[in-house]
């Protein structure tokens, strides 16, 4: 009789996460059109906001002379928000079509199923970010330096994970693609009620108050630092801390909903 070799649980879990990420990649490769809205939306926002609000840099308080440099990290983060929300919509579709039910009866732990969705969104968010960044450079945005660029992309990938946790939480809670506007609006509000459009001092009072307590303000500032000035650890760690906090809270909410499925 041939002896079976037990695969260590961590390897099995890793393989499952990898398989779910490959599935997400296949969706992208087989239906490339599905990626277009995620790429197009932040690009339109970038070009539109730049064309419309570009003159704002004439106001005292802007640390850069070009609005492209100021707004490009926001558009890259917006792309991450859209991509993460799309992951939630895809999960809702999987629930509606019964695909998630089949995953739930597999021996894979629930956190692994969630991790596959979240990490796939994180990787996918690099596509719109790269596209928007390339367009911004072509239009005259400043080069943020390799360290600045690396920090921006880390922020983008982590923000997509945050958005995917939010989208997954809502998908698992409502079990319907009808929750899509809530997924997108939630992320839009979170990213734009910051110093997205102008420095803190130039925001209206109520938005200034919200931006001060919104943790994503630190993420925007960390992602922006290379574009408008120099990169420092003091400008980076608050963003990383904010993302860790958001991931912990929204990840816990999504995981709780995932664990409730089928019970």
């Amino acid at each position: 009789m041939e002896a079976t070799v037990a695969i260590p649980p961590w390897r099995a879990n890793l393989a499952t996460v990898g398989a779910l990420m490959v599935r997400a990649k296949n969706e992208l490769v087989r239906v490339p059109g599905a990626a277009i809205p995620g790429v197009l939306a932040p690009t339109i926002f970038f070009l539109g906001l730049n064309g419309v609000f570009g003159a704002l840099t004439q106001l005292n308080g802007f640390s850069t002379g070009t609005y492209e440099s100021f707004i490009v990290p926001v558009s890259m983060l917006q792309g991450a928000g859209f991509t993460g929300a799309a992951a939630g919509v895809n999960l809702a579709r999987d629930i509606e079509q019964g695909w998630l039910d089949r995953l739930l009866v597999s021996p894979a732990p629930r956190w692994v199923l969630l991790a596959g969705t979240v990490l796939a969104a994180s990787a996918r968010s690099l596509i719109p970010a790269t596209f928007v960044f390339a367009i911004a450079l072509a239009l005259g945005a400043g080069w943020p330096g390799f360290d600045g660029l690396l920090i921006t992309f880390v922020m983008v990938a982590a923000m997509a994970a945050v958005a995917a946790c939010w989208g997954s939480f809502l998908a698992l809670r409502f079990k319907s693609q009808s929750a899509a506007p809530l997924m997108q609006a939630g992320m839009m509000a979170l990213i734009l009620t910051t110093t997205a459009y102008a420095p803190l001092a130039l925001l209206q009072g109520w938005l200034q108050d919200i931006a001060r307590v919104n943790p994503v303000t630190e993420v925007v500032e960390a992602a922006r630092q290379g574009f408008v000035g120099s990169v420092t650890w003091a400008g980076t760690w608050p963003g990383l801390l904010a993302l860790a906090g958001l991931l912990a809270v929204l990840g816990a909410l999504a995981l709780r909903e995932m664990r409730r499925q089928g019970r």
Partner: protein, 261 residues
């Protein structure tokens, strides 16, 4: 019962169905109300200092200036949502059943447009209420507010005609939904969100020739200064132009739909 009254009843019934459908589906109402409101709040709060820029028209506040832009965004997306809903009806066979009913074909499209116009009216009232609640004044008073409401409602119907034409031509909800980014592009390339003189090239030049700029200025003027006959006339002409385009495209698309089934 005269045929006119009978047709009016069909249009009303289909229009009411279209409104109910929109309010029952969050994915249809969100683009019309939620997103424009969110953007209005964020842009008003984020770019409020823009009124201090040299060359910015004299306004009471940036919110007062932005109200017309929010209404424009809402009505454009109402037109797009109307197109999506019509395409869903085609995909699910509901339109085929209407085609086989003893009602004129134009009443089917007009019913959908009546619903879109009603949503435009709702959007206009919503944003006027938001503006007034948050301290914006309507400089030309009640007549100005009424003029803005009429222009927004008419523009929603006009834009809805183009959405309906695309839905009838393609019969695919995903194709009409794919136009959503295009709506944003057209809006950004108009003076909906910023004075055209202060925009950056090439957006500035495109906005100058974009008919939506004429519509938005017609809606904005009564709010920020007073009713201006020339601005109103240009807005009406621009809306009529969009109506004509929508009618031609819809008629062609309807013929195509009846031919291909």
């Amino acid at each position: 019962m005269s045929s006119l009254v009978r047709n009016a009843r069909v249009v009303r019934a289909l229009g009411m169905r279209s409104i109910r459908q929109t309010f029952r589906r969050p994915q249809l109402i969100a683009p019309i109300i939620v997103f424009p409101t969110l953007l209005l709040a964020i842009q008003t709060g984020g770019a409020a200092a823009a009124v201090e820029l040299p060359g910015f028209p004299p306004v009471q506040s940036f919110l007062q200036f932005m109200l017309a832009g929010a209404m424009m965004q809402s009505l454009m997306l109402a037109g797009n949502s109307g197109g999506i809903a019509l395409a869903v009806d085609i995909e699910m066979g509901f339109t085929d059943r209407l085609f086989s009913a003893p009602i004129p074909r134009f009443a089917i499209v007009l019913g959908r447009l009546a619903g879109t116009a009603a949503l435009g009216l709702f959007g206009a009232l919503w944003f006027l209420a938001i503006g007034l609640i948050f301290g914006a004044t309507i400089e030309s008073g009640v007549p100005g507010a009424l003029l803005a409401i009429v222009l927004v409602t008419a523009a929603a119907m006009a834009v809805g005609g183009i959405g309906a034409a695309i839905a009838l031509r393609t019969g695919s909800a995903s194709v009409v939904q794919g136009l959503f980014p295009l709506v944003l592009v057209v809006l950004f390339l108009s003076s909906a969100f910023f004075p055209q003189e202060l925009m950056i090239e090439p957006a500035k030049t495109i906005a100058e020739y974009n008919p939506l700029s004429l519509v938005v200025e017609g809606i904005r003027e009564p709010m920020i200064s007073g009713i201006d006959a020339a601005d109103t006339l240009y807005a009406v002409l621009a809306i009529l132009g969009i109506v004509a385009l929508g009618l031609v495209l819809s008629a062609r698309a309807l013929r195509h739909r009846l031919r291909v089934g």
